[in-house]
Symmetry: C2
Subunit: 147 residues, 2 copies
DNA sequence: TAGAAATTGAGACTCAGTCTCAACACGTAT
DNA sequence: ATACGTGTTGAGACTGAGTCTCAATTTCTA
């Protein structure tokens, strides 16, 4: 049985004359194995642990394709390398990032979206995506620090 | 005569028992030479062209210090390496980035700030900074593409 | 002037990500 | 069947921003 995301990815690939190879399927499964943020290396290691040897090159290539298909987006943070997160089955959300403990709180606020649409309009800008990251101290760390 | 930013940087360094060395001054001057976004390598090259040889290591170290002092902030984009921009003498602003031509439009909107403060409050989060990037097609590129 | 602490440059190093290229898969036309 | 074209793969070399190391040097303070 083929999962919904497999179907979507296959369709995207077909549309571009590309192939849904076994390697691509393995990578897709690993990517959707859980619903957290991850980075390319997590996939490399995850697959290796599961006994599937897929080359780094293929993994990077496939992640790019997944971003192209809209099934993943790239979440850049202040760190050096990109992180990914699923879009399929999730609403858009932004992030509060604690600079103390690294915790990442996902937020979803329709007001932001509305406000952004307004600003884009003012500039004749047609938005396709946005990314909002707010850095600071989360509740836990704030509590720890006060006295 | 010492510029305002030099004074601020010196004070920051003093407060941490650090020194305002000739190299750090050269780097600071180069950084404030113009008011655009730049990356570490621009400083390396800028100084070299001006006949000052300051090592990459010192430049990276000093850029970190400048971020620490609040005179610069790190603007990460979808590219691999960080970009910097001045904060001194500028209001906070966010960015509209055209994925077609790379143009970067700076926006500044008090409504965003207010909304963000509200959301942070809801989560007991104390924000120290934020970064909003909206990607899409700018007016020029949009016009070019429609017929 | 001596000693402690900070700083510097050169270059080795790291590491995520990219590129190259030969080997392979697979569909289609001959 | 055969040949061709196009897409794909893995191994490993490569890239390039950024970091680290360390001996030599500078600066501050006593």
């Amino acid at each position: 049985m083929e999962s919904a995301e497999e179907k979507m990815f296959r369709q995207f690939l077909d549309g571009d004359g590309l192939k849904f190879t076994p390697e691509r399927r393995l990578i897709l499964q690993e990517v959707f194995r859980n619903h957290r943020h991850f980075e390319a290396d997590d996939i490399v290691i995850g697959l290796r642990n599961r006994g599937s040897r897929v080359s780094r090159a293929s993994i990077y290539r496939t992640l790019h394709l997944l971003v192209g298909s809209g099934l993943l987006i790239n979440v850049y943070s202040a760190e050096k390398h990109g992180h990914y997160e699923h879009t399929f089955g999730h609403d858009h959300h932004d992030h509060l990032i604690c600079t103390e403990c690294g915790r990442m709180i996902e937020i979803s606020d329709p007001e932001f979206e509305a406000q952004q649409a307004r600003v884009c309009n003012q500039h004749g800008f047609v938005a396709t995506s946005h990314k909002l990251e707010i850095r600071g101290i989360c509740e836990c760390c704030g509590a720890k620090k006060s006295f």
